[in-house]
């Protein structure tokens, strides 16, 4: 844009001043000067990058690396060439903040990285790979801060989960759910989403793991399916055994939240892989970089997701499920209400 403007100025100035008799030599010199200026402008190349984007990982490797790779891959395919990506671990972050160049935008991967980079001093921030509850906790009480923050959550939107139940288990009417202290905040969202899908939610909330078995028994009474959302007290490594055994005993399928859960025995899982989270973050970053300068979209649930089923469990429960890809397509095609 600057280049355009400067060019126009030169030409306009040329047009304003017609050649005077006897100034043929003067116009040749100005033509050369113009050409030289243009050449210099061209040879200067694109203007220096106007920002660095830092990707802060909670840990070096594993799923965090996968998110960073997802961002980088999406970025490479975009035209946001004036941005460089710099990946660092959360240990390196404080040192980097003290040095230069400064970050134009900080992307954190995971809750630990988010916590470390929360004191980002006015730099726009994008939190990825964390639950909505963690994001809300981190940004609570910081309303009105100078720099914008946004997030790509790990949790699926309640509407999508309930719609999956509708599509995969068309005869199900009653959905059992268990909430714990960390997930209790989502109860109302799930109730609303269930109503939209003409399903009844049967939810029980507990405060400590000890109450789990009794709560599970009550929640499963007359239920057609159990929808699991993670919570350290309710759905975790230790309790997954109880829950899967008890639901299987009652022939009630479980909708899980990760690939591991469906391998463990859930009938279906709806989840976003680290690469998918990275892809969405990369797209957002690329969009922000293009003119006109844009703000980060508001924090939202992931756009890309995977549906996976456990065919052995499906056969054992005598359930005929549509193919995973078909379920995913029909879920993606349905209009999303992204909060």
């Amino acid at each position: 844009m600057f280049r355009e403007r400067s060019g126009r100025v030169v030409l306009r100035s040329c047009a304003r001043y017609p050649r005077a008799p006897g100034s043929r030599r003067a116009s040749w010199v100005s033509g050369l000067a113009l050409g030289g200026a243009l050449l210099v402008a061209a040879a200067a190349g694109p203007p220096a990058p106007d920002r660095e984007v830092w990707i802060v990982l909670s840990e070096n490797g594993g799923v965090y690396r996968q998110v960073a790779d997802g961002i980088a891959a999406t970025f490479a395919g975009s035209d946001a060439a004036r941005t460089t990506l710099r990946t660092l671990t959360r240990d390196e972050f404080p040192g980097a903040m003290a040095g230069s160049p400064r970050a134009g935008l900080i992307v954190s991967v995971g809750v630990d990285a988010a916590r470390v980079s929360a004191t980002g001093q006015g730099v726009p921030r994008l939190f990825t790979l964390l639950p909505k509850a963690s994001f809300d906790a981190l940004t609570a009480g910081t309303a009105g801060r100078s720099a914008p923050v946004s997030a790509v959550y790990l949790d699926q939107p309640p509407a999508r989960l309930l719609r999956l139940i509708r599509l995969g288990l068309p005869e199900a009417r009653r959905v059992a759910m268990l909430f714990g202290p960390a997930s209790a905040g989502q109860l109302l969202d799930f109730e609303a989403a269930a109503r939209d899908q003409s399903l009844t939610l049967q939810a029980v909330t507990i405060t400590e793991e000890r109450q789990l078995f009794g709560a599970l028994t009550r929640a499963l009474e007359g239920a057609d399916v159990l929808l699991a959302v993670p919570d350290p007290q309710v759905f975790n490594r230790h309790t997954s055994q109880n829950i899967l055994l008890e639901t299987y005993r009652r022939r009630i399928p479980v909708i899980g939240y990760s690939e591991a859960y469906v391998e463990a025995g859930a009938l279906l899982s709806l989840y976003s892989t680290p690469e998918q989270i990275g892809r969405q973050a990369g797209e957002w970053l690329a969009a922000v970089g293009r003119p006109p300068a844009q703000r980060l979209p508001a924090a939202s649930h992931p756009k890309y997701f995977t549906v996976r089923s456990n065919r052995r469990v499906a056969r054992s429960l005598a359930l005929e499920l549509p193919a995973d890809s078909l379920l995913a397509r029909r879920l993606g095609a349905a209009p999303e209400n992204m909060p």
Binding site: V63, G110, V111, D112, L129, L130, P131, A133, S134, A137, L154, D155, A182, S183, E208, E209, Q211, F213, G214, T217, P230, D231, P232, Q233, F235, N236, R237, H238, S240, Q241, N242, L244, L245, E246, Y248, R249, Y257, S258, A260, Y261, E263, A264, G265, Y271, P274, N310, R311, R312, V313, R315, S316, L317, A318, E320
Partner: protein
């Protein structure tokens, strides 16, 4: 059940052991192996480190954490449409609604199963009949542990340390399937699965009723770090049939621990003990002396599972069964003990059976359409029963087996091919192979047709091959021994070749229909023959052709009502040599209907109706047709995190009918029994 076979088959004069014969008896001491299992459970209840709940904050780790495979290939029950042999599943809801107190009572709900109470506590259950009081032709497994007795055959149901409240489900395989269930899966298999410790509540329960019914149970289930455990103890007793001397009383305790070592490895430990006394009387004068039998039964079992993913699992199982039965009394011409005139004969009937079994099994899914299971096992059966094996301190039978099966979805989802075989080598009959093959074809979604062919063998039990019993005329010197049973040995195994065409349909409204037509050729059936001198022997004598039709329907009539219907039609064609009347050992028509209805959220009513045509047990006279109606009304009362339950059960609200013996022979009339159960569960 235990001693009566001997009383009959060993003839009228049971053996006398007398002093001076080798009497080293294994097993009076508690076996070290069982103690080891018990100690392991107790030790694991106090693990050094306790994995407390995570105090860290909610994060992405909760989403992305590795989870152990829980519903692994072996834990998932096979859907009915995929089974190679027809199967009936009795689930928890059916167990409770039926009002049954014992497992054989529950088996009446299986189409084609013949069940008879030979005494108040000895019940025979055999698929397609062909049973005497021992019911030797069935395999019975509890969590993979085989519980039929190697000495005389059959299953001592009342002696098994197992509370019905701890049973998760019972799968009855209606046909031979040795590749999956091992040796003796001849006419069929009864596979009992107990509930995982993690899903059991604390419970107290008491039952009181007519006929001296007094049962009690207490259970505690807990969790200690990665160990879930359950401890159950109980008592059961009743007076049996009104006019018979068949009271039974038992005390039992069982323990189960499910220990999760890490994401991939689990260890399951079980330990059980039961002791009790049973009143006995033999059936033939002048030997019908009333006496008692005491039993001790115990087991220890450990199973280690390595589940790599939901299709790949390796398991190693080790178990030890011990069963001891003691009967001592005196016989003489009409004079009961303690009077002891000169020529009264003291009878000692002690039988000790032990089994030690080690098995390895590997289940894997090399591709999504192929599932393989293979394994090997070694078993040692030992029996000490001088009353049946005169002169032998111990008789043994060692069995080695290897098995494999493959489930191949040739054309997903249309055609499933199921092939399997077991090769077994034992001391009595050498090496045998039991193959089976089945094809399941899906006509359209929810409707599957199955064609299967399966071959299996039943090896003779020890008494059939090695039995040697008789009486000493002049105890204790025993210079004159009169044999009453001399098993000549050299028996061939019984063989069955079963062919079936089946259909499984998932109909509208969630109804499930299961039908089968079958044709079974059974050869070399072993029967008792008597020489002119009155000495008995076991020989391969008979063949039988069993054909028939069976139907099972599980229908949800309304959201609150469920009906389970079973029906069987059977025709047995046999020459019935040596008075072994196989041809009438199964009723022509038989069936059952279990109806369960939720009157409200907390009150349930159910009824069970059973019918059978005339039949007879092999060694008995004919029984007429019989009908039975059981009724149950139960209510639950949730109070905070616990729940109370009360139930009233009426067994046989109709006229009395004859069990096992016709009234002309013995008074085994099952009249009406009523009992009330009160319990409380703590979650």
């Amino acid at each position: 059940m235990f001693g009566t076979t001997a009383a009959d088959s060993a003839g009228r004069r049971p053996a006398d052991r007398g002093p001076g014969r080798s009497t080293t008896r294994p097993g009076r001491r508690v076996r070290g192996v069982d103690i080891l299992f018990g100690v392991l459970i107790v030790w694991l209840c106090h693990p050094p480190a306790v994995a407390a709940a995570d105090g860290r904050q909610f994060s992405e780790r909760d989403y992305l954490a590795d989870l152990p495979v829980v519903l692994s290939a072996t834990r998932l029950s096979q859907p009915l449409s995929d089974t190679p042999v027809a199967m009936t599943v009795i689930d928890r809801a059916m167990i409770e609604a039926s009002g049954a107190r014992t497992i054989p009572d529950l088996l009446r709900l299986v189409p084609g199963m013949v069940v008879g109470m030979q005494t108040g506590y000895n019940t025979v259950a055999s698929y397609h009949g062909m049973a005497d009081r021992a019911g030797r032709r069935m395999q019975v497994l509890i969590d993979g542990r085989s519980v039929y007795t190697p000495s005389l055959g059959g299953v001592p149901w009342v002696d098994l340390p197992l509370a019905l409240e701890d049973v998760e489900r019972i799968e009855v395989i209606r046909g031979p399937n040795a590749a999956t269930y091992g040796a003796n899966a001849f006419l069929g298999t009864i596979s009992i699965t107990t509930r995982h410790s993690a899903v059991q509540p604390d419970e107290v329960k008491a039952r009181v009723g007519t006929h001296g019914i007094r049962d009690a149970l207490v259970r505690h289930a807990g969790k200690h770090g990665s160990l879930d455990y359950r401890l159950t103890a109980g008592h059961d007793e009743d007076r049996g049939f009104d006019l018979r001397h068949d009271t039974a009383r038992s005390n039992y305790a069982t323990a189960r621990g499910d220990y999760r070592i890490d994401t991939y490895n689990t260890l399951e430990l079980q330990f059980g003990y039961k002791d009790g006394d049973r009143q006995r009387e033999s059936e033939d004068p002048p030997w019908d002396v009333r006496h008692g039998r005491e039993i001790i039964s115990r087991y220890g079992q450990a199973r280690w599972r390595y589940a790599l993913d939901s299709g790949n699992e390796l398991s190693v199982q080790l178990y030890h069964n011990y069963h001891e039965s003691d009967e001592r009394y005196t016989i003489g011409p009409g004079l009961p003990p303690p009077a002891l005139p000169a020529w009264q004969i003291p009878i000692v009937y002690d039988v000790v059976s032990e089994r030690l079994d080690l098995e390895l099994q590997h289940t894997l899914s090399p591709t999504t359409s192929l599932r393989l299971a293979w394994g090997a096992g070694a078993r040692e059966d030992r029996v000490f029963a001088p009353g049946f094996f005169q002169g032998e301190a111990r008789v043994e039978n060692d069995i080695l087996r290897a098995f494999g099966s493959a489930e191949w979805r040739i054309v997903e989802p249309l055609l499933l091919l199921n092939a399997g075989a077991m090769v077994e080598k034992n001391d009595i009959t050498g090496t045998d192979t039991s193959p089976r093959l089945a094809a399941n074809y899906r006509l359209w979604p929810g409707h599957t047709v199955r064609y299967g062919i399966s071959r299996a063998t039943r090896n003779p039990v020890l008494v059939e091959e090695l039995g040697y019993a008789g009486a000493c005329i002049d105890p204790p010197a025993c210079s004159m021994f009169i044999p009453t049973l001399v098993a000549s040995g050299g028996l061939k195994p019984e063989t069955i070749l079963s062919r079936e065409i089946g259909y499984v349909g998932h109909l509208a409204f969630g109804w499930v229909l299961d039908m089968k037509f079958y044709r079974d050729h059974i050869d070399n059936l072993i029967a008792v023959t008597t020489t002119p001198a009155g000495v008995e022997d076991y020989v391969n004598a008979n063949d039988a052709l069993v054909t028939g039709f069976e139907l099972a329907l599980d229908a949800r009539l309304t959201p609150a009502t469920r009906a389970v219907l079973g029906y069987a039609y059977a025709d047995i064609d046999s020459e019935d040599k040596l008075s072994a009347r196989y041809s009438v050992s199964m009723p022509r028509n038989s069936g059952s209907l279990l109806l369960m209805h939720d009157l409200s959220r907390h009150v349930q009513a159910s009824l069970a109706y059973y019918y059978r045509d005339a039949m007879r047990f092999i060694d008995q006279k004919a029984l007429g047709a019989a009908r039975r109606l059981d009724l149950r009304l139960a209510g639950r009362l949730p109070v905070g995190r616990s729940e109370g339950e009360a139930a009233l059960v009426i067994q046989n609200a109709l006229d009395s009918y004859d069990e096992y013996y016709p009234a002309s022979r013995l008074d085994n009339q099952f009249d009406t029994r009523v009992f009330v159960t009160l319990g409380w569960r703590f979650y």
